[in-house]
Subunit: 235 residues, 2 copies
Amino acid sequence: MLKYQQIANEIQQDIEKDDLQQGTKLPVLETFMTEYKTSKSTVIKALSLLERKGLVYQVRGSGIFVRRRSRKGYISFSNQGFSDELSEFDITAKVMELDIRKPPEDVAFNLKINPEEDVYYVKRIRYINGQTLCLEESYYNKSIVTYLNIEIATGSIFDYISNALGAKIGFSDLYLHIQKLDQEEAQQLQLKKGDPKLFVETIFYLNNGSPFDFSKVTYNYQQSQFFFQSTGHSL
Amino acid sequence: MLKYQQIANEIQQDIEKDDLQQGTKLPVLETFMTEYKTSKSTVIKALSLLERKGLVYQVRGSGIFVRRRSRKGYISFSNQGFSDELSEFDITAKVMELDIRKPPEDVAFNLKINPEEDVYYVKRIRYINGQTLCLEESYYNKSIVTYLNIEIATGSIFDYISNALGAKIGFSDLYLHIQKLDQEEAQQLQLKKGDPKLFVETIFYLNNGSPFDFSKVTYNYQQSQFFFQSTGHSL
DNA sequence: CATTATAATTATACCGTTATAATTCATCAA
DNA sequence: TTGATGAATTATAACGGTATAATTATAATG
């Protein structure tokens, strides 16, 4: 692991271990430099990483402070789709369908492939703490995700892609809509037709910019509590 | 303006001016170094900024490539709340209420003040292209936002806070819920009771970590098309 | 006591360099 | 043609330094 990531991890663990409260001031840069026997720029990189992850904020001339979320029970809505840190929840999945097929037009477009090329189609229902969380339909470019089975799809497909296939997941585009459930969706989510839903289309890219997964997810509004941290800075 | 921000701006303008397509390769670092007469690290900072803004992606050993969103008509959901680049839409606001009052308990809690301290309360309806976009109730810590009036609240309150008050806006926490409209909200948004809504509570902080604005926003589901880019990296 | 000026602290910008890792491209062999 | 090998390209990691800007603490001033 890279040095600055390692340092970031250790600082994060310290924050969590000591349960440091919002606004707690961390040691100054010099201290981290000597503690980790490294250069200033590496410490800065580590802290910038933690800042992007929403764990600290830095104030020039003043110091580095702990940033904490104040509410529990929200699904974090950050870098890796939603998959980040769902470990605090009990998430399971049931695979409804899994096959190889030709993609519909919109899927082919978003995956930037021809409609004749094969894709894996996976339909799952995901549960959170025993309740239906969402209905998920995913299409994987088969020339990238060369193999899938039910066992893999029951677990984390992304872990499989990263670890077994050795592909590097890069970034993603999310498109969010608020809509009403239709009859079929309502039935599968154990809700009523016309109930609210959060509908999310996501395109996942490898780190080289190739889209490999296009997915459409319908969330149960009763479980739809999401948390998102912005970090300002730019502009 | 800082050098690396300036460079980032110019590269961004070049991308937009030339309407570079997704995947277009940008010049190599060396080129930018000589073009902008600066060091490698400054160019890297500029490009990292553009990467966080979702405009480019970098592939080690390969190059720097243009990243473009593929859909129009979505409200960007990025750093500065929603306010970023709403310039592509015609957004207006009507102020329904504006007064100084004592905060309810949840507001005092989120703004980290005592219930006896004054806050500015602003209720607005915001319109997008003539349609109701959302219903917004905001509470501003009066010891930070010392003055507000209807004229200011009709425009961008954040611009006013940044420019007139000279405060530096830092980061924010967003909590998202999908719910059903009640009678009153439905009426104000010209929708029906029971229709879906996106309900967002946001706490905005200054760059020194002080919360100055707590707001509750109810979005019209018919206008609720949001776009969000993740950048991976971390873990 | 309040206000103002000054100094100390602290994070950030920026420079320039070396080393490293991923990718791409050219070369060669089978 | 295919595959393997190695070289060139390219972004990134990491070092360490100087200069700068924001904040905070301290001292001086009225």
